[in-house]
């Protein structure tokens, strides 16, 4: 075992940050919780929990319709989240920010509406070999329905997209390029700007899955020039069940509606319904008001702590963990891209990831093991899955040390 000293942390006051996350005070199996499953979902700070409680205790009402005080307050808080989200991803206008139930919902919305209207027989949709199932299955369903073709940008041994192959996949029939910004299983940060420019040159529309990236990277949809961007609040210290879909105005306006119901309509008669303007056109029914409101608190919190500082802290954790883990005999890091965000995925010779997961849990450490909902990617590496440690702003170098020690113990028990 090489001796590595943790870098002096002068970026963030992690101790102070930890105090704001109530769950981090608890114990698991008699030990203080070490939560390293942040790519699955992050823990919630008190301000987010307060926002939820305050809404339900102070001004719970349906939005956009009542004229009473509570409805006004709830509507204002709900719409304030849209403004914050617009700034968070640098969207040109608030009308281009649509609330969804999360990333998966956003992709399904685009595949079902834009897809059905624009994809025909023989058309081609490109995804990558490192997609989460949620950015594969909606397109597969669409291809099946329309007799279209799904093409895949391969992943190199180091976990990066093979852009020369991508170039050869682009053609006159390419209608959509839908790709993940940051891989949940490998941590690879994809060069989305370049990939989008290449897609646009071929006349294709693009969608970026920002489920993992939105918490770690600065998101600027205008600079990326993506046509669609989707993300989830719960991976960003916010509540579950809410996310956003950003779309370029012209495309959203031309897109058929998704679900029918209240809020998305302008006028309804039994002969004909006319639809509401953006963004409400895509927000049928009573939305997830409480969680949308609390989502603002999460974005404000991230902004206040400082995304850049957090990203640097997480980068140091990744580098420290990678170096320490690599020193363990038989351990191999999966995903060695030059640009990674907050994820260390690994396998160990002769040991199944699930066995490691059980033994780490017994030592109070939460990691993810398995295929990470990315079976095609695991097949590409011929592995059943990996052990994944993923970091957030509240993780410490000491926790990495404890992970390594717990892992050594697990390996010893299993061998």
């Amino acid at each position: 075992m090489t001796t590595l000293t943790a870098p002096a942390n002068n970026l963030l006051n992690v101790e102070e940050i930890r105090k704001q996350f109530p769950v981090l005070q608890r114990e698991v199996k008699g030990r203080p919780l070490i939560y390293l499953d942040n790519a699955a979902t992050t823990q919630k700070p008190q301000v987010v929990i307060d926002a939820l409680v305050n809404y339900y205790t102070g001004y719970n009402a349906n939005i956009h319709r009542g004229i009473h005080t509570l409805a006004e307050e709830a509507t204002a808080a709900f719409e304030a989240t849209r403004d914050t989200a617009k700034a968070f991803i640098n969207a040109p206008s608030r009308e281009e920010v649509i609330f969804t139930s999360g990333t998966t919902d956003g992709i399904n919305l685009v595949a079902s509406t834009w897809g059905r209207a624009n994809i025909g027989e023989g058309d081609e949709i490109i995804v990558t070999g490192m997609e989460h199932h949620s950015n594969i299955v909606p397109w597969q369903l669409l291809c099946l329905e329309k007799k279209a073709v799904l093409k895949v940008i391969p992943v190199s041994e180091s976990g990066e997209l093979e852009l020369d192959v991508y170039e050869s996949l682009l053609g006159p029939r390419t209608k959509m390029v839908s790709l993940v910004h940051v891989s949940n299983a490998l941590g690879t940060v994809n060069p989305v700007k370049q990939i989008i420019a290449m897609a646009h040159k071929a006349g294709a529309v693009t969608l970026v899955d920002g489920a993992q990236s939105s918490v770690h990277l600065d998101i600027d949809v205008q600079d990326m020039d993506c046509d669609f961007f989707v993300m989830s609040a719960h991976k960003l210290y916010g509540p579950t069940g809410v996310g956003i879909l950003y779309g370029k105005r012209a495309i959203l306006e031309a897109m058929p509606v998704y679900r029918g119901g209240g809020e998305m309509i302008k006028e309804v008669t039994f002969e004909k319904t006319t639809y509401n303007e953006l963004p409400y056109k895509f927000e049928a029914g009573t939305p997830n008001i409480a969680d949308v409101i609390a989502f603002k608190a999460a974005m404000d919190f991230v902004k206040e702590v400082g995304k850049e500082k957090v990203a640097m802290h997480e980068q140091e954790l990744v580098e420290y963990a990678t170096a320490k883990l690599e020193a363990l005999p038989g351990l191999k890091i999966v995903g060695r891209g030059s640009h990674k965000a907050s994820v260390v995925s690994f396998v160990i010779d002769q040991v199944h990831p699930a066995d490691i997961g059980v033994l780490l849990d017994n030592q109070g450490i939460a990691v993810r093991t398995g295929n990470h909902c990315a079976q095609p990617l695991m097949d590409r590496y011929c592995i059943p899955g990996t052990v994944r440690a993923s970091f957030a702003m509240y993780n410490t170098f000491e926790e990495v040390d404890q992970l390594v020690a717990a892992l050594q113990k697990a390996i010893k028990m299993l061998s």
Partner: protein, 145 residues
Amino acid sequence: MSETLNIRDTEKEIVEEFGLFDTWEEKYEYIIDLGKKLPALADEFKVEENMVKGCQSTVWLTASYRDGRVFFQADSNTVIVKGLISMLIRVLSGHRPDEILEAQLDFLKEIGMTTHLAQTRSNGLLAMLRQMKNFALAFKVKNEM
């Protein structure tokens, strides 16, 4: 196969054995050891139709029926699940279909293995238990026909 003990007795026996362990390490070392000792299933049985797939571990399960009793053979690609399987086989194998169908299998909870029975996608153990009972039911129905 212990023919003298009924299912509940074997369960109690296992619970008593686990009572001797003071730490989680001892418990898991025992389970890992059981997993390693369970004979591997021959490759001819490791086929798709015998597979009980979880998103973390894969279990292969087959059963045979002799003299009114069901005998199980199983394997897994993860050693802890294999250890748990070994205990399930010890408890259930060699019993009559009715006994297997009625078995509550509380011992898994009593020895603190509830994590492995959680309703998650993560392991094939719960699915395997269901499959063991399905086998018992199938043999019972076939027998009564």
